[in-house]
Symmetry: C2
Subunit: 318 residues, 2 copies
Amino acid sequence: MTKPPASGLSLGIDIGGSKTHGILLDADGARVAESVRPTLTGPEGVVATTVAVVTECLGQASAPDGTVSIGIGIPGQVDPATGVVRTAVNLGISELDLGQRLTAALGLPVTIDNDVMAAALGAANHLGLADGDLAYLNFGTGVAAAAVVRGRLVRGHGNLAGEIGHIPVDPAGDRCHCGQRGCLEVLAGGGRIAARLAALGTGLTLGTLVQAADAGDPGAVAEADRLCRGIALAVQLVVLTQGSERVVLGGGVIHTAPGLVPVVQQVLKARAAESEFLASLNLAERITVIPADYPVAAIGAALVGLRRTRSKQLAPIG
Amino acid sequence: MTKPPASGLSLGIDIGGSKTHGILLDADGARVAESVRPTLTGPEGVVATTVAVVTECLGQASAPDGTVSIGIGIPGQVDPATGVVRTAVNLGISELDLGQRLTAALGLPVTIDNDVMAAALGAANHLGLADGDLAYLNFGTGVAAAAVVRGRLVRGHGNLAGEIGHIPVDPAGDRCHCGQRGCLEVLAGGGRIAARLAALGTGLTLGTLVQAADAGDPGAVAEADRLCRGIALAVQLVVLTQGSERVVLGGGVIHTAPGLVPVVQQVLKARAAESEFLASLNLAERITVIPADYPVAAIGAALVGLRRTRSKQLAPIG
């Protein structure tokens, strides 16, 4: 059993496809410890990596006694009530009772949540919108969203909320792996973009996409247009559906393609020029990008754990 | 000044483009009085109609003393905090301080809300999902939604949530009056449908659309396909974005076109047959239609007033 460190600490772990990032925050939200390790995949690998990162973070904390809350963000379908994770494909997990496994291994209670949900809380915290209306859009291999309404995550029935990647926006679009046509994920999911860029055979990557499009490369122009249209549509979709005051963009696609977000904002402004209604929404101005080096999902995971612990203190049954 | 009737009554008024409907509920939710009048348009007309309906309902109540809460649902952009209504086009209102006007005329406090927001509360109440996750989709002249998450309306920043009619779902679609192309409202808004049916010149109406499509009329088949696709997409959109457990359909388009909803459910099932992901959502089974004779917006308006009154009792500043 890992000995819990000083009172009022919160530990957040972001389990990603390539690395697992842990951050320990004190009661004021200052980082007091940090650990990053490559993620070993499969159920055993994920548990082992997480235990190692938790142990490393807690070992760096100076005070020997006190309480710590632990929150975990992980891709896939997560039920925060049970801690069970399903279909975390990139981690090689079909089903894993991660909460129980970690609690047993660490001797400490942990709270598990979907990584995009956790990131939305981290983003709300970063923007000082802890009681506000915000959407976090994640453009990774796929496309997903999480909304904070009046300071609380919108989970939906069966934790389904935020699966916006599979909303079709073009009946003539390419087939999505989900079976539908023209899903948002076909336009703006990193997996599809990488496949299309590779098929061009011109050595074009997400890292050079915007620059190449600026230089007039036809393949890059088409791909950048499609990607920016997809991101712009996703922004519009969450604002019109949930009235999000701010839309935070994150994920590998956003951080890998320099210059992308200003082009998305140009697209939104060009669309607004054709529609008084769109212009009234000021969509381009609602966009915020979390800095690539700000560990939004790990910090959000720490908040997930902290909130859960607090709500349990208030209502022991719940 | 109208004398307030017996304790614990709640009065809900649904101000529609053609008629204004008032319903008085007792503390158990039973209807104790009702009044319907044609809506006089323009600011003065709307105020006069509403005062008449309120007076008529309260006059039917037997007990001479006590408290009553009054809630009003009205189309347009409504700020429930101030009671100001903007751009209620079909009522001839560009801006009206309806809350203040009615409070002055009646001598009683009133709470104003958007009619679709009110209807969502009425639907949640009707389905016994007062603490649940539900979306109400209104297919009237335009298309709008309102979501209840954990028993509370999602209003969004600036009361913007629910404007899903102007989410584009087809880049090759017709131009919308908002300036965009292929908005959901172009597919499934009653105004656009009526214009297209009139342009056919075959006497086809919403009332005969599904029957004519069944009989193979090509114009009816095309229009029914487009309409059902739009409704099906709207259902999918709110479920994937907000995780709504139930999706309630209402509005003139739904109630005027007999046989429409089963066709929408067939469309959803056909789409699910092509996508395991969609199949897992059981979208067709999430749909509920409120009976045409159930005054969902008036009852919801009564709930709006009641909730506001209760929250003020709990938090006088609020």
